[in-house]
Symmetry: C2
Subunit: 666 residues, 2 copies
């Protein structure tokens, strides 16, 4: 009998311990469930009920009052918080605003910031549309997803509901994300079938109380493939009608459906140009179909084709002339840089060049070009860098390509969660500093202990620059391997392949130098930038180091601002990247006592992979380019340990939705 | 017609260029063939003819006179060199001595040392017997050989004669080696068959003019296996007779045959103990058979068995009581250390413990425990360390287990040639410093340019200590992988295996500490050493760092002479090993301009492997032992990049005669 009790006790103890185990599944929402706070609301709604529930679950402190009321200082979703008469008064004009205010209060508590001040906090989002783009396919794979499979269990929907759907919505709401595009921009037409729309409706119903609208990527040829029409010409009446009917069907199921995201005439996708129509004509036709329901069209400007001489110029050349031709419910969605989510690019000159059109930026949260879910790369500094050039207020909206999957910790790398978090926070307020965001996230996700937060926030701050250093410093870009974007292949040469998919197209290394001449003596891409920047970038002596090989083909002996030759500087930067990753390892090892052992070891392992990969990148690129520079790697730099021949014969056999478990080495 | 000339010219040019290509095949004998020196000899013989040929081929300078005559200052093989009346006078009592003198003169020239002085050079060898032991098998494999296959083409002999036979003899003669044991101590009885003896005779005839005698390893059970006897009991008359007849047969073919080397009752080999006879009785029986012909027996003291508590004590326990019982043509051949050619061992206490017996040392030139032919480890400092404890004059002879095979560069690693060279030079003169030998070898093998020799001699000087550091510092030993002795497996645990073949037998790591207690409170192996050393080693506070874990099980917190804890010191030493290999890479890269590109790249590649392997050793051992020390690796030390789990699951699938092409990583 005693024995039985013991077993039951042990079982209970184990279960409760397991519930507390830290596997990253709770993200930054790890607040203990000991909240005893009283919460009062002036109104009731499913969203307000969620706000109450969150506060009761997690907030420890004075009573909270939720007030939904008009207030001239508050835009939609905005809120205020003040502390009056020993109570927190949370005010918003919308239910969503109250939910955001509740998360604000909980976040303040977790980050050990006091909110008991006389000052009223007023928060308004910078953008009304703060969206995640999922590149998820109906078969469960995620293009450029490195954290398991798609969250959306299409086969089980609408009957079986995964717990993750609501957890996903809650996580997004907690950082202000209010829209989600469920499926890949390389879209399957099936997503608009009646069968799938029922499934989409089910998800939309779960997301709605969290203030999240649902959107879909659509295939421009859907009327042909799914509708059986002969054409998808946007000026064809039957096509227009097909889309109008489809919109009607969607809105009947999902009255607050957000709209469509479209990748057209890009990388083999169908589009209006197939029927000699412009992007504007295509976008407007869809916009007209959605207009009656207040739906929008986000039309991607990511287009390029292999015949043109400079890929970096093409989106501008194709879209800028269309300025002013788009409906007011069309937003042109532009990637931050003119090529494709490289570790560093100058901003896309299309921003600021379409004053009579609505534009939005597309960031990539998933680390397609920054080490997948193996490398620690905090991306807020990269996005902040973008906002240094493109005023936040010039944009209509903001989207981020998600890094979320079925992995226990959602993102593959525990620190990749910080990029999901940072995207949400910056979408709400692009004025936040990278450091503030890193510290907020660390405090909630691990511990607010200063001895932990200080050094690790510092790692995060340096991490994106480290990736630039060990992968592609000084404006180099697209040196990635054929078939995936993980490892280095500056030598890549695939017979018959698109020239603009070859690294040599971008680096143009020769005995004379290295870099893409986009100056006025070259492709003249500089001319797409405003005069001041154009002049700065056009001159090799004034062009910042960060972009020098983006805009110029520079001789190996060119004297850099550091006093080093270009070759010396290149070597120095690659090595600095390696030494920085070693530094990250050291700093992480030092904080072992502040972190649960499961997450400590998982991050430790990833940092080891990152160092090994940094060495791989450095050894590959410096030895490959050294064949052109004909100069030794300066002797104060850590020597290569890998042989070029071996690296050139090494292939990682992975698909577009896998993260290699260990990089180059065992 | 013109075209044809061009082709012929090009072909000629290419061929002559190829002849000059540096692939390491010429060893340290790369002197140009431009010698025009006149040579005069007082006598003629095949050996003197060789001396003349070598001088004419390689010496550039004043005429040389070769004089064979008695001289009271000269022992057998000794020689004098003086410069009189614008001529070099080379004098020796033997033809071999004149050949050695010729090589001396050529070496002086290559190392840029002047011999034009008034001082007469007198050289006498420290040992009359300076032998290589080949562990070559009849099937062409070489046990612990990492440089290709056996030089001896048994199937082709005696009809087909490889050029390498004479090149081998020449190389040995040039450094004073005067004996070779052709076959593995784990000997095939076949070697004594009439069929094989004809082959052996053919080799002996080639080696003879170079002053090299031929020896064979014999299997003690040969009379049973080859002779059909029922026993190999050394006191059996038929057995005695069998051996006497065999000796007679051998000497009829090879009148100057050197004798036998025997591994008996060791690691499964047959021996006199199988018949309840002692090692002395076995050795003496063979010695009696060889005595009429002045042949000798070298009887190995490398014995141990798994039942005893401390393998390091066993050779002493078994052989010391036999002191004085051996015939005067028996030499007991003892490995330098009491266990087995580890990167560092204290000397074997058997040396100095058998004053009434002839003893000789067995060094291992092949790097069975020092990184095979992948790692640069110059072994002269290790052998010199031995002579610091064991007076050279207390030994009768010296043997080295060869590192030579069919590889183009003979030894697998270009720098492994230096160990063959150093062995020969030290066998002649143990007083030579490691540095002198390194500089001599570098000057002849690469270039005498000071800018090359200074830094690379420095690398060589540090290299063995570096291996100790990154493999087994502080007296640790035998942490090697099961199945080969290349990589680390301190965790190795093979069910049913001999306990004394398990690393844990040697390191005895636990939460309390690490190391083998051989002090008076443990196995008391210290008691086998002379009183002064015994007292020094027995006390953990006076025992030198180098041997501390050899003689003591030391607590992790023990304060070392550096002020660090044992754990801290262990980490520091492993890391120092890694940093030193990185330093080697840097120094080698710096001298690229002084080295032909073929050998430069081959050595560069090997140094890369060595650094990767050093990291592997450090990461494996520190993380494995860290599980016992329960302390972090000090944070000023380069962090591990490999995971213990992965390393524990990694196996290199190689035989005992293969060098893994790339170590742990790709």
């Amino acid at each position: 009998m005693k024995h039985t009790y013991l077993i039951i006790f042990t079982l209970f103890y184990s279960l409760s311990f397991m519930a507390e185990a830290e596997d990253g599944s709770s993200l930054w929402l790890r607040q203990s469930k000991s909240g005893e706070t009283r919460v009062y609301s002036s109104k009731s709604s499913p969203t307000i009920a969620l706000a109450e529930k969150e506060l009761k679950r997690s907030f420890r402190g004075a009573p909270v009052v939720l007030k939904r009321q008009k207030c001239k200082d508050l835009k939609a979703d905005g809120y205020s918080i003040k502390f009056v008469d020993d109570k927190y008064i949370l005010t918003s004009t919308t239910d969503n605003g109250l939910l955001y205010a509740a998360y604000h209060l909980i976040r303040q508590q977790s980050t050990s910031c006091s909110v008991r001040s006389d000052k009223t906090i007023i928060e308004n989002p910078a953008y009304n549309l703060r969206l995640l783009n999922h590149w998820d396919n109906p078969d469960g794979t995620i293009e450029r997803g490195y954290a398991g499979s798609s969250l959306w269990q299409w086969d089980d929907l609408p009957l079986v509901i995964s717990d993750r759907y609501e957890e996903y919505a809650r996580a997004n709401a907690s950082i202000g994300i209010n829209g989600t595009v469920l499926n890949n921009v390389n879209a399957s037409p099936d997503i608009l079938s009646s069968e799938y729309l029922i499934k989409v409706k089910t998800l939309a119903d779960i997301f709605r109380p969290y203030g999240i609208k649902t959107y879909l990527s659509v295939n421009f040829a859907t009327p042909m493939i799914l509708g059986g029409l002969d054409t998808a010409d946007p000026l064809d009446k039957e096509v227009e009608k097909w889309w109008k009917n489809k919109a009607k069907e969607i809105y009947k199921l999902i009255p607050d459906f957000g709209g469509f995201l479209v990748k057209a005439n890009s990388e083999g996708q169908p589009g209006p140009c197939d029927f000699d129509r412009t992007h504007a004509e295509g976008a407007n036709m869809l916009a007209d179909a959605l207009k009656p329901y207040n739906g929008i069209v986000m039309w991607r400007a990511f287009v390029y084709n292999p015949e043109d001489a400079d890929r970096a110029k093409q989106a501008y050349l194709e879209f800028q002339p269309l300025d002013g031709k788009f409906r007011d419910n069309v937003i042109v969605q532009i990637k931050n840089g003119p090529v494709d989510f490289q570790p560093r690019e100058p901003y896309s000159p299309l921003f600021g060049s379409m004053p009579r059109s609505k534009t939005m930026v597309e960031f990539q949260i998933t680390q397609e070009y920054l080490g997948f879910s193996n490398h620690l790369a905090f991306l807020a500094p990269m996005w902040k860098e973008f906002f240094d050039f493109v005023p936040a207020e010039s944009l209509e909206a903001i989207a981020g390509v998600a890094n979320i999957g079925t992995d226990t910790n959602w993102c593959g790398h525990h620190f990749a969660q910080s990029n999901w978090y940072a995207f949400g926070r910056l979408a709400w307020n692009p004025e936040l500093s990278s450091e503030e965001i890193a510290r907020e996230w660390l405090s909630q996700t691990f511990t607010a202990d200063k001895n932990f937060v200080d050094p690790i926030a510092s790692i995060m701050a340096e991490s994106r620059e480290a990736v630039v250093d060990y992968m592609m410093p000084l404006g180099l870009h697209h040196l990635f391997a054929w078939g995936h974007h993980y490892g280095p292949e500056p030598w890549c040469d695939v017979e018959g392949a698109r020239p603009d998919w070859m690294p040599s197209y971008y680096h143009k290394a020769s005995d004379n130098g290295i870099g893409f001449n986009r100056s006025s003596t070259g492709s003249n891409a500089v001319a797409q930038y405003p005069e001041t920047l154009k002049n700065l970038y056009d001159n090799v002596d004034t062009c910042p180091d960060e972009y020098i090989l983006w805009f110029h083909n520079v001789s190996w002996d060119h004297k850099m601002q550091s006093g080093r030759t270009l070759w010396g500087e290149l070597c120095y930067r690659y090595d600095r990247g390696v030494q920085t990753t070693r530094h990250f390892q050291r700093e992480w090892d030092r904080v072992e006592m502040y972190v649960d052992s499961e997450r400590f070891k998982e991050v430790q392992n990833k940092l080891r992979i990152q160092t090994r990969d940094a060495v791989w990148w450095k050894d590959a690129c410096l030895q490959y380019f050294g064949q052109f520079s004909n100069k030794p790697i300066p002797y104060d730099i850590e020597r290569p340990v890998l042989n070029l021949d071996n690296m050139m014969n090494f292939k990682i056999d992975i698909t577009n939705y896998e993260c290699p478990p260990c990089g180059y080495s065992n």
